[in-house]
Amino acid sequence: MATTYDVVVIGGGHNGLVHAGYLARAGRKVLVLESRPVLGGAAVTEEIIPGFRFSVFSYVVSLLRPEIIRDLDLVRHGLEILPLDGTFTPLEGNYLWRVDDHTRTRREIARFSAADAEAYEDFGRAMVRVCRFVRPFLGAAAPDPTSFSLGDLERLLWLARRYQALDSEDKFQLALLSTSSAVDFLDRWFETDPLKATMSASGIIGTFLGVRSPGTAYVLLHHYMGEIDGTFRAWGFSRDGTGGLSRAIAFGAQAAGAEIRTEARVAKILVRDGRAEGVALESGEEIRASAVSSSLDPRQTFLRLMDSGDLPAEFAENIRRYKFRGSSGKVNLALDALPEFTCLPGVGSHLRGAISISPSVEYMERAYDDAKYGRFSRQPYVDVVIPTLTDPQLAPPGKHVMSCFVQYAPYQLAQGSWDARREEFGDAVINAIARFAPNLPNIILGRQVLTPLDIERMTGLSEGNIFQGELSPEQLFFQRPVGGWAKYRTPVRDLFLCGSATHPGGGIMGAPGRLAALEILKKSPGKGA
């Protein structure tokens, strides 16, 4: 007779692992099932090119919730965050360089505009205040204004009270951040075009919208949150890549008693009489559990692993309508030497932070125009990092790895297929960087080009959307993933969602995994059957 679990968790991504960790800590008997040989989902480190280890997909850490680091004792389990300082934007004959040192950043921005240098500090302070207000949203389930249950009303009232206590100017910023485009928001603060272009990039990451599309200021805020939050002040690299972080979470979960199996691909969620009672693996093995939690996205969970007959028709319709629209790609390069930027030659600390190919707002917007009509950007926005400058073990001595996050790469191409056009896309990305660092093509020892289709195939993220679905206003808070079903529960009893497709959304944050666990524990506080 097979073992029975309290909860079986589908998917060993960071959220699935966090989720399992919290459940195990509370004494639940938990099993995590990961289809790949490696844990982490989109947060994995792999040796793609012999001797070179890459954070294959997600590559920086900033949003990871401090309470998770504490609760799962991640530092003891090997989590180490290395600083990623500054953002360097190469331009034609010039550059914009922001670092963690205020005085220096101020001086750099003042080369473009004295007013902007002044405004930059005010901006930082204003964002901190808004983030402080928004932060509790990440630490709790989203209250549902349509439910009218006492708990929701109480929570809404609590939020309203906190809102009332905000300064009028902060309320204004909050209102803009919820409704504006990233550029319209930044226009109110700054005049320097490359500064606005680079800052606006945070508003489009993982999103099929342009920097001038309304709603992108919210995505900007979502990313900003990590830069402010307690434990880590800045973006950072996890030692040994994002896989190092996943490993620490896995160790934390195991230490709490969770079981983890890799190369265990779930074929079906077993449902009987409207209740989830376990999963069937592709191997044919069936695993019974009192509850099933899926860290997969809703399309995978409800449309691939379940029979449509197990779901209410309207719910299934809403899941089909849920927007993925992957828009990002990734190019991982093994380098023989470091790239040399024409505007600032030499191996300086400017290479140690993020290097942003975002020379102007118009450049960013035009990159989106391509994507709208099913083309990858001919001149894409690229966020480049060279983690070996902080973590040399990732490559052989003297060699480097370079990670290039790219937008836009629309999942649906108007012409041709991604399989046929992968290398052409890779060339466009390298050219976009080479425009500012001409030696780049000559120092490449090997490359891995990941299109949204590849991301989908390798990680299971539908349409390659890195956030498990767009962070668009109609897919946020109480509407994530579907209105009325934002609290990690589903129409199927004992089936839960715990991935980025639930509130508060994507990024290496862990909040969905944690909150879903708390929801399960709330419903049955005692130790499971």
Binding site: Q164, T179, P214, Y373, P473, E474
Partner: protein, 534 residues
Amino acid sequence: MAAANKRVVIVGAGVNGLVAACLLAREGHRPLVLERSDALGGVAVTREFTPGFRASMVAPVAGPLLASVAADTQLEGVEWLESPARVFLPAVDGRGLTLWADEEKCAAEIEKISPGDAARYRETRNALEAMSRFFTALLETIPPAMDDLSNRELLRSGRLGLRLRSLGKRNMLRALRWLPMPAADLASEWFENEALRTAIAARGVFAARLGPRSPGTGGRVLFQTGPWGDPFAPVVAPRGGMGALAEALGRAARTAGAEVRTEVEVARILVTGGRVSGVELAGGERIDALAVVSAADPARTLLQLVDPAHLAPSVLARIRHYRINGSAAIVHLALDALPRFRGVEGNGAPSPALSGKILIADSVDAIERAFDAAKYRKFSDEPFLEATIPTVLDPSLAPPGKHVLTAWLQYAPFDLREGNWEARREDVLRATLRLLETRAPGISSLVAGSCVLTPADLEQEYALTGGHIFHGDLAMDQMFSLRPIFGYGRYLGPVPGLYFCGSGTHPGIGVTGASGRNAARAILANLRRENSHR
């Protein structure tokens, strides 16, 4: 008290200014409406543009006017002509699609091209019908004060929430999901046929610096269709053109006790001791006032009429970032005969298919592409247009047998990166005729006269800053409580005694009179409050 006898001055006799005047007069005030032009109506004005041919110069049709506005103003003497067709989409290949007001007829027409969509149309129409009272209430709401969300305000928002709640869970969630969506997504959710989707997308971007893929354009669709319970907005205009509505409102305002003067331009709004004290006219004459209600656009009101010295820096910063650059040009054509559109059957009497809006746009993407040019402040190479032929229902606007066609051309950004609109007026006419020729071959040879209004002309001739017909872009960050600017979304301006009542306030979409009515309610409540404190 002397103050109580002082009057309320309303700047601008547009529809909203007149509605506000009417309602203030009904409550015992003696409003004085000052209009710079020789005609009432602002953007709702009928003029002769070619001898014998008259057109609704700016707003081609009504929003339609809300029933509550007509009732509260006791509007009389307007003969409303509601078009039996809502949208006609002439296709290049010759087969046109007419979306009728009548549900059965419309479903039958849709059935011919897309059976699945006929069912969807019925379902969407039913859903919107069930939601129409909520959307009407939304338009008629004085938005909550987001800067000072007091308990009283919370309670008021709660009331709108209750209305939303009364839709039932399913429609409530729908409304909340649809409002922030891009029109393109809303269109895809409602229909699968591209022509139907295009009709929805066009509604979402009407007079906007937004494309169908811009989030929030779904809400713009719903503001125009929701209150009427139909995915395709009704097309309603008074006999005699939109000017007839303005004149009727002028009569209603005067009957109620308001004074309405034309060709009187307000040059300044006067502030004394931190409070509005009156207005100064272009000639230098001063008129004392207890309150000044501006129906002019917010940028004009705060940046030209009020001395900036009286505004807080935060207010100035907000209004300077108010996006008010228009994106459309208008072309009126005097036609010797009714143009023959492909896909319209029959000769002789004008086909009712041509009575509504005629949409010339190939696809949702084509509209999006036209918008792309506007992002870079260029006149679209391939714009789309929406035309009305008012003479189909109202022959009085042209000599017998002749017709007027009014086209809205997008995108024509006010703030051209290169060149100026003076030099591009001919291009606008050419682009319009080129587009019309694709669907109504030979139309050019019927043109007996024309009138082009570029965004620059709209600014010059109609006192619309940036040539924006809605007094500022209706995007999510300039809607509802945020319209026109944060902190002043309740018709109360940033100087005591100053009020807004124009299209630059909530809801500000189309000629509905809602802004004027909401403003009057807010003003009356505030005047009462001030009076009791005095």
